[in-house]
Amino acid sequence: MSIFEDITAIQNIIYIVASILFISGIKMLGKEDTAVKGNFLSAFAMFIAVLATIIFIVDPVILLGGILLGAIIGSTIALKVKMTSIPEMVALFNGFGGLATFLIAWSEYNSIPDNYFQYLLVMVTIYIGGVTFTGSLIAYGKLSEKLKIAKTSIVTKIFTTIFYGSILFLIFSILLPFLPALGFNFFTVLLAITLLGGIGFVLPIGGGDMPVVISLLNSFSGIAAAFAGLLLLNNVLIVAGSLVGASGLILTVIMAKAMNRSINNILFVGYASASKGSSSEEQGEVSPINVADAFLILESASSVLIIPGYGMAVAQAQHVVRELGELLEENGTEVKYGIHPVAGRMPGHMNVLLAEANVPYDVLAEPDDVNPIMDSVDVAVVIGANDVVNPSATEEPGSPIYGMPIIEVHNAKTVFVLKRSMSSGFAGVQNPLFFKQNTRMLFGDAKESIGGLVSEFKD
């Protein structure tokens, strides 16, 4: 054996160790007690995998320079970003991973593939990586509210068409070696149409469906890395990429189930064309309430359930909410938080916001935990949530959201709904909860209303 072969053998052993550490790391990331350690373990796996690769580095100036610059940029963003901007940050980093695999496949194409299977892998990796990249950028734009283009606008329609066109062009590119030679540079067209297609993939998807899309893009970035691993014959890329692909897929399915919709419906249909025949026309009167009266009811309550939604994130109300929760507990009230899996704009969005505000995670309950005991809840406080507490989902078979698992606050003794105005939720469905006998509407900015309740308690 030559020295070169020895080094390759050692490198492969390190890759296997790294793969095992990635597997343990992601497993530990799925449990509260071990999550921090799991993340460290996976970071360590990344470190040794990169170290084992650097041995073979061809051009240290360019490549180590790239790592250094990437480390500075990545760390700066990660340490400076506000916790409320986490959804868009995750989308952005995810896009960069997709871009890296897109570039890897591009480079491999320029090095001229040895056989058809390699050629096929190049095409597929380019496509998944490229769509992940621009799709994630659009998700970033939507989540940070920098990008506001309606689903019905002509721009959206053009890009959606390009997306379908890009799939056809990918198939064409894959079949190309079997077709007679063509007189144009198809590869440049593939690069361009893939990137434009990614825009068209995410552009028509609405804000409330973002948790699904962002999970799916997460899965794509892993699958793209795994394909790049097949292309480069690199086992650690395959194992790590597959794990990410699997975890993204699981989250996607959880999110879709929490909306009672198929992934196909979320991605390609949307709420707009869901059946309209709902009978929500008979509405009746809403009963508004002011802060002072709401305080009196809360003060005498013995159990309170808080249901946050995207509105709490927008109003940045998580800190006052935590303060109110603590004051209620000092007053002898039992306080729980009911968290719907798709509340907010990414999986677990509400959990992160409340954790940032120092709410311990063991008072956060899932719908299945709170629904059975709902009739013993004195006051359910809905803060900027709408569709996830809409009783139409259980009561009205004609409603577009019928069948979606909700937090059944309408079964609580009293419901406070904190809301800016009477506009309907993301799904565009009227919410009969607002007109129920036991519902009181507390209109206004969530942060101000809760702040008002907090100062009442302090007086």
Partner: protein, 90 residues
């Protein structure tokens, strides 16, 4: 071609393993899991480091691939760590 069959086997097994390992994640950890998995997808860095730098174009592609994969790795792990540190028990 045998090498592809073998690596394809590794791919399928790893996906299956991933699905088994992560199937029951508490919703508290949905975001950190996504963000942590996202950092792992930065493993593309290992692939980017072995790309050819034969021509100017190839060097540029390799540099950008390393750069963006590194941003993904460093940013992903640090943001996940920051997030997980916030989760506290009562």
């Amino acid at each position: 071609m045998e090498i592809y069959a073998l690596l394809g086997f590794v791919l399928i097994l790893s996906i299956y393993l991933g699905l088994e390992l992560i199937s029951k994640v508490p919703s508290t950890l949905h975001t950190p899991l996504m963000s942590g998995a996202n950092a792992i997808s930065g493993i593309a860095l290992v692939g980017a480091l072995v790309l050819s730098t034969d021509s100017n174009l190839q060097s540029a592609i390799a540099f950008l691939a390393v750069l963006f994969a590194s941003i993904n790795v460093f940013g992903g792990y640090l943001v996940t760590n920051r997030m997980l540190k916030m989760f506290k028990k009562k």
